[in-house]
């Protein structure tokens, strides 16, 4: 029972929507066991009325409230107890409550991660684990990035490397991680554009980004409750000028805090319900978004013959 719950817990990290328009699932201190596959649908909704034009916080009666709805399929498979692969594929829909701009919709980016638990050791009363996570994402459809804030994504192909430290003592845990995201240039539908200077190209240089994440709370027997602090910082890029439109290579920053929870069904422990709420506390060239999400995850075990052995391999 405990073993099953542990596995279900691992579904948790699938639900963390780091950026309202960008699903990320890699930031958690728990691994799927060898042969176990966790998969499920997620729903997410994010909206903002205020946004930061550069550093100036404002609203815009010609946009009203801009909302993003996301339907995501996510999964995680345990190649070994220490090596997991993950994926996410969201369908995204945007809408502005005022003004004339038409919302966009479509399949956004396919994300893939490899997550490696590189080190784990009992220290004092608890256990310290170190992780390395490599990620890659690319657009899964030919959507338009150059129509912000209505675009469903930014179109760049991203390579990320994240280092993560997790410490658990009893039912309490804390996880800290940081990532560098290398973003490819993108191609837009026009042949020239202005940033802080004129460019005669349809190619746009996308600045790289850094992500920092801290989470702490309760984690035990399949239940999960944590507070999360998340920061996304674009390393470069430029500010929107006064009353200008956003552009994919803007310096987009956001700091968000939120709560994240998960509960396994007592009658069917393979199935768990997850939910989260986030709010943006600081930002730049981005909406001051509030988001909520929820989903279901189901664990399928493809390694029945090893079940007994593996149940002891977990911490």
């Amino acid at each position: 029972m405990k073993h099953l719950l542990k596995k279900i817990i691992t579904g948790l990290f699938l639900l963390l929507l780091i950026n309202p328009v960008k699903a990320q699932t890699d930031i958690d201190g728990v691994m799927m066991e060898r042969g176990a596959f966790c998969v499920g649908p997620m729903y997410g909704h994010s909206s903002w009325k205020n946004y930061w034009e550069g550093t100036l916080k404002r609203d815009n009666a010609n946009l009203g409230t801009v909302s993003t709805t996301m339907y995501n399929i996510m999964g995680n498979y345990g190649i070994t107890n220490k090596l997991n692969v993950l994926f996410g594929l969201p369908y995204v829909k945007t809408k502005a409550s005022a003004g004339q701009l038409k919302g966009m919709k479509g399949i956004q980016d396919l994300s893939l991660w490899i997550k490696w638990k590189a080190y784990s050791k009992k220290i004092g009363q608890g256990r310290l684990s170190l992780f390395a996570i490599g990620g890659y994402s690319l657009p899964a459809s030919d959507y338009t990035s150059d129509f912000l804030p209505m675009s469903i994504g930014l179109e760049s192909k991203n390579i990320s490397v994240r280092g993560m430290v997790d410490y658990q003592r009893g039912s309490l845990f804390a996880t800290v991680s940081g990532a560098y995201i290398r973003r490819s240039n993108i191609e837009i539908d026009r042949t020239a554009y202005y940033t802080t200077e004129m460019h005669y190209s349809n190619e746009v240089e996308m600045p790289d980004a850094a992500s920092f994440n801290v989470r702490a709370g309760y984690r035990n027997k399949g239940a999960y409750a944590e507070l999360v602090l998340d920061n996304w910082t674009t390393l470069g890029g430029f500010d929107m000028t006064r009353n200008n439109m956003p552009f994919p290579s803007n310096k987009m920053n956001a700091t968000r805090i939120g709560f994240n929870g998960k509960y396994p069904m007592p009658f069917m422990p393979q199935l768990s319900v997850v939910g989260n709420v986030f709010t943006t506390v600081a930002g730049r060239n981005m909406g001051k978004a509030t988001s909520f999400g929820g989903g279901l995850f189901y664990v399928i075990d493809f390694s029945k013959k090893e079940k007994k052995g593996s149940s002891t391999s977990e911490k």
Binding site: L101, K102, G134, V161, S184, M198, S201
Partner: protein
């Protein structure tokens, strides 16, 4: 062992990260201008405002044997001996052509300034002030009519200044520094064109003078470009200082005629006032039609509603009203109007990816060089392949930009005269895939600009007629796909633009350059 893997992973990542993301702009790959013809007799081409090429006299150059000249030759040699890589780049950059580069600088200024002011807290809108250009809202708001006018004044002033320069070049027949002194290196293609007065400095002087009026808040940027331009000519060995000085002075003097015209062309009053805005609305209601209403929140006054009153270049205002102004659009109560509105609703429901691409390709909205800038970019990228002399470059861009400004005037005349509502005003279900312009629908500005440009460009480069026509048609349709214009707006826009372009062709045939 594990640490080593981690190290390898990180190392691989660093390698991937170090790949260059630098973008090579198309305009940085233009090669040095090597005119196919010197157009040595361009001094007798018909100027636009000048009474003749000698209206502003240019004194004879100093003798190439004089000590002053030899000092100036030595200045070049000393620059060449101590050239930095930045200077080398500047020489290469400016070698593509003075008219070309200043046109690009203009486009950059327009894009920078093409942002509508945000509303005041009380729901009114501030207007930029030329007297205080650096206070918000920055002056100017370089919207399409403003931009069309700006491009036109710069291009026409450059043309007249170069016609005069060519007259004096032929008259004085001064050889280039590298011809006078074989030990002067020429870092750009050599030319038999007489180098006094310097055509580059003529263009620079005329442009800088006009830009003082049009972009008063950007003088530092403009001056820095001007200094770099002149210095590049010296370092290149293409001109001695006195050739630059004579050219710059000539350019500035001639530009004054254009500044005077600009100050009196009625553009200063084009924003209108509440009385005018109400009047346009009332007139429309009296005709039994539904008037345009701003769809912005708070409601913004229409963009430059009196721009139709500005003095055109290629015809007079009366001719515009009698022979260019299109017939009335379909009545808002007619079946045709309902059908056209339904067509736009259908485009708005489910745009294809290709329709979105076309709408965005031609949108040229906020923070861009506007449709007139787009057509300047199209023209320049074609002209660089044709090795025009500077004076022919200026003549061709002059014709293009007179067409574009007159297209703006004709189009804005129709917009204000008919004051026809946008599709999304008539059917609030219509959402747009490009920004909704804040002025009446009939006739489409993009269509008018594009047809005018395509017509005169097809005359200049006949081999490209079919391409230009197709581009204008696509630009026009892009406004249907964007769900911001009816089909009538686009079709009548193209017709009107073609009429404007025909006037430019008529001028081109008689200006002495063909």
């Amino acid at each position: 062992m594990k640490k080593r893997y981690l190290l390898h992973t990180l190392l691989a990542f660093v390698l991937i990260s170090s790949c260059s993301k630098d973008i090579i702009d198309r305009n940085m790959e233009f090669s040095a201008l090597q005119p196919a013809s010197l157009d040595i007799n361009a001094g007798i081409w018909r100027p636009i405002l000048l009474t003749g090429p000698t209206e502003f006299p240019v004194a004879a150059p100093i003798a190439t044997t004089s000590p002053a000249y030899i000092l100036q030759i030595n200045e070049i040699k000393s620059f060449q001996a101590n050239m930095t890589s930045a200077e080398k780049n500047a020489v290469k950059y400016w070698s593509a052509g003075a008219v070309l580069r200043w046109n690009e600088i203009m486009r950059e200024l327009v894009a920078k300034h093409n942002v509508p002011p945000v509303n005041n807290p009380d729901g009114t809108y501030p207007f930029p002030s030329a007297a205080n250009p650096l206070a918000y809202p920055l002056f100017p708001f370089a919207n399409p009519p403003y931009a069309a006018r700006a491009y036109a004044y710069v291009a026409t002033a450059q043309y007249d200044a170069l016609v005069a320069a060519w007259y004096y070049k032929k008259l004085y027949n001064r050889a280039a520094p590298y011809t006078v002194d074989a030990t002067v290196n020429c870092l750009i293609p050599t030319s038999d064109l007489p180098s006094y007065p310097s055509e580059d400095a003529v263009v620079e002087g005329a442009t800088v003078e006009i830009l003082k009026l049009l972009f008063p808040g950007d003088q530092q940027f403009i001056q820095q470009k001007a200094e770099e331009h002149k210095r590049a000519r010296l370092i290149a060995g293409a001109n001695v200082r006195s050739e630059l000085e004579a050219g710059e002075a000539l350019g500035k003097s001639i530009a004054q005629k254009f500044v005077t015209r600009a100050k009196g062309d009625r553009a200063g009053a084009t924003a209108g006032n509440q009385t005018l805005w109400t009047q346009l609305e009332t007139d429309c209601i009296i005709r039994g039609e539904i008037p345009w209403i701003s769809q912005e929140s708070p409601k913004r006054p229409p963009m430059l509603p009196a721009f139709g009153k500005v003095n055109p270049w290629l015809f007079d205002s009366l001719t515009m009203v009698t022979t260019i102004r299109p017939a009335a659009p379909p009545s808002t109560s007619s079946q045709q109007f309902k059908d056209e509105l339904a067509e736009i609703y259908n485009y708005s429901i489910k745009p294809t990816r290709e329709q979105i691409r076309i709408a965005h390709f031609w949108a040229d909205g906020v923070s861009t060089y506007t449709p007139p800038g787009h057509w300047n970019a199209v023209a320049c990228e074609d002209f660089v392949k044709q090795n025009f002399s500077e004076v022919r470059w200026a003549r061709n861009l002059g014709l293009l930009n007179m067409s574009l400004m007159d297209a703006a005037i004709s189009c804005w005349d129709a917009k204000s005269f008919y004051f026809n509502p946008r599709p999304s005003q008539m059917d609030p279900r219509i959402k747009t895939i490009t920004g909704l312009p804040n002025f009446p629908a009939y006739i489409s500005g993009h269509s008018t600009f594009s047809a005018a440009a395509a017509t005169i460009l097809g005359h200049i480069t006949p081999a490209r007629v079919a391409d230009y026509t197709a581009m204008a048609k696509e630009a026009s349709l892009s406004r249907l796909y964007g769900a911001i214009h009816y089909r009538s707006d686009c079709e009548k826009g193209l017709e009107t633009g073609n009429k404007v372009g025909a006037y430019a062709i008529a001028r081109a045939r008689t200006d002495g350059a063909e």
